[in-house]
């Protein structure tokens, strides 16, 4: 395993990521109870042998709800990032390789879009598209696009003038070969690192939209929505908001730590 993943931070990140991904893939099958069934006699209980993480305002088992909500929360982050990174990279690579006035126009538009804070941008798009999980995912993806385009462009620009690219140009290689075989493979690692960290951010924005009532809709078990629904009862049983809150933080932290370790292992200066 690369050295960066053998540090405490790298191991923690990898561990959290494995737990979170396992929950996202197998969670709904592992849930001990039906996440939607009310148990009116067991409302707002603390952790016990029967309910490991306690129960919510309707007596629903919190552990089951967390496991059931893992796919919608995690795959939201992955999906939004994937679309945002894809669109952003295409725009950034076009700007970076084209240069000249095409580059200038694209960059000025991106600068304008980047001047609008990301959450505000997302909220505007969600309002336009209407609330809901798919709309929220698209909104986050669109909001991520300008930032990713900038990173893709700058990494293409820094590679375009390297000797091995100039050598390929001097050999008379076609430009398609140069872009696909020389520039892209080398430009891609900053994009991968940035997108790993962005997944954490996308999960947090997705949960925030769910919390504000603009993302996942009831009776979804998306974690942000769980916090919003339990807030009325938080003084009677703090577990109802703490459990989904900590789950969001764990997921975001897993991707953050993993992204940092990835950056260190891809950076030759830090990985002697």
């Amino acid at each position: 395993m690369p050295r960066a993943f053998r540090t405490a931070a790298g191991i923690t990140g990898l561990g959290l990521l494995l737990i979170v991904m396992a929950a996202a893939i197998f969670g709904p099958f592992l849930a001990p109870y039906d996440p939607q069934v009310f148990h009116p006699t067991n409302r707002l209980e603390g952790p016990s042998a029967a309910h490991w993480l306690g129960t919510d305002q309707f007596g629903r088992d919190l552990l089951s709800r967390i496991l059931n909500g893992a796919p919608s929360t995690i795959f939201f982050g992955l999906g939004a990032t994937l679309f945002g990174v894809g669109a952003g990279s295409v725009i950034g690579v076009i700007a970076g390789t084209a240069g000249g006035w095409i580059d200038s126009i694209i960059m000025r538009i991106l600068d304008g879009l980047l001047a609008v804070p990301e959450l505000l941008f997302t909220l505007l798009i969600v309002t336009f598209l209407g609330g809901g999980m798919g709309q929220a995912m698209l909104a986050v993806a669109v909001a991520f696009t300008p930032g990713m385009a900038r990173i893709a462009r700058s990494s293409v620009l820094s590679i375009r003038t390297r000797e091995y690219v100039l050598a390929a140009v001097a050999r008379g290689e076609p430009s398609r070969y140069i872009i696909l075989r020389e520039v892209l493979p080398n430009a891609i690692s900053p994009i991968i690192v940035e997108s790993t960290i962005r997944v954490a951010f996308a999960i947090m924005i997705g949960a925030t939209l769910g919390f504000l009532g603009l993302g996942a809709q009831p009776p979804s078990t998306e974690w942000g929505l769980m916090v919003a629904e339990a807030r009325q009862f938080m003084f009677r049983n703090a577990w109802t908001v703490a459990v989904p809150g900590i789950a969001i933080a764990m997921a975001a932290m897993g991707f953050n730590l993993f992204g940092d370790a990835l950056r260190d292992s891809l950076d030759p200066k830090r990985n002697e």
Partner: protein, 316 residues
């Protein structure tokens, strides 16, 4: 620093803001909802709606509408709120100062705490203090504002302790004590993520500086460690810190939307959520433009600050 540099940066800011006005106008043009119908209510007759559209200028082509709106904005006239029947400039103006008092409090406390914290972690690299700061910064940057805010409400403002008010606002010129007790929780919520981010960045910049040749030279010269840090290491780590803070202002401006909503702080964020829920287009336009302007101007000021702190930028 040359005036030419400032001028070029200022022109770039104006260009960005021009693109923003266009984007803001485009977004509100495609947002669902007809302003004339909103004012008249669902039961307005067709003739009444058409008449209202003429009054509001909605019957004109979109580029004329854009120019009319832009000319109004440049005169400080953002139109009339569709829901509050007040001039948008008044509503947004009041909210702006309330938000500013919260954002500035958060940003100042973060700067005072985060830079020494990051520097300490870099100087004592590998120590327990470094580890604790590192763990804190990872936890801090992984908690969305609404989670932090909810936790703070339970543990600090909840019935168990009840130390601070759970929400609301008192203007700073009415009562300083009242303002302080209301600002602590929202400012802490906003500050946690920023402190985590900025201290981590300062730590990594400072570690890089500390392992550079001129620091070794300063040590070999026999300078005291205190002097090496204060005179050589810290000044060279400050320019990147300013750059990070200015980027984080964008994050802060997004964060206030959620935090104001949770703590019932009557600022731009809370007004924006109200306006989005009620499709109050002129208010949405004005708030987006104000937030983007603040962000663009703070980036401009930080570029100037970086040029003052780092001569290499100035002469590049």
């Amino acid at each position: 620093m040359t005036l030419g540099y400032i001028f070029r940066r200022l022109m770039a800011v104006i260009l960005v803001l021009f693109v923003v006005t266009f984007a803001v106008f485009a977004i509100t043009m495609i947002l669902p909802g007809n302003a004339a119908v909103m004012i008249l209510g669902e039961y307005g007759t067709e003739e009444a709606v058409a008449a209202m559209e003429r009054i509001l200028g909605l019957d004109k082509p979109w580029h004329i509408q854009y120019i009319d709106w832009l000319v109004g904005v440049l005169h400080g006239d953002f139109g009339q709120s569709l829901r509050l029947s007040l001039p948008v400039a008044d509503v947004v103006g009041d909210a702006f100062w309330n938000s500013a008092s919260l954002a500035i409090t958060a940003l100042l406390s973060v700067t005072i705490i985060a830079i020494p914290l990051g520097a300490l972690a870099a100087i004592k690299r590998g120590s327990t203090a470094d580890l604790i700061i590192g763990i804190f910064s990872y936890i801090g940057s992984s908690m969305p504002e609404f989670v932090t805010a909810t936790m703070l409400l339970i543990f600090v403002a909840g019935p168990a302790l009840g130390l601070l008010p759970a929400g609301g606002f008192i203007a700073i010129n009415e009562s300083l004590g009242g303002f302080t007790s209301h600002v602590i929780l929202p400012a802490t919520t906003l500050g946690l993520v920023l402190t985590a981010h900025i201290s981590r960045q300062v730590r990594s910049e400072m570690s890089e500086v500390l392992s550079s040749d001129y620091i070794r030279a300063a040590r070999l010269k026999g300078l005291s460690e205190h002097r090496v840090i204060r005179r050589h290491a810290l000044p060279n780590s400050l320019a990147p810190a300013v750059a990070v803070i200015s980027l984080d202002i964008g994050y802060l401006l997004g964060g206030i939307i959620v935090v104001e909503e949770i703590f019932a702080w009557p600022g731009l964020g809370r007004l924006l959520i109200y306006a989005l829920e009620n499709r109050d287009l002129p208010v949405i336009q004005a708030i987006t433009l104000v937030l983007a302007t603040v962000y663009a101007l703070s980036n401009f000021l930080s570029d100037i600050a970086i040029a003052i702190l780092d001569p290499r930028v100035r002469y590049a």
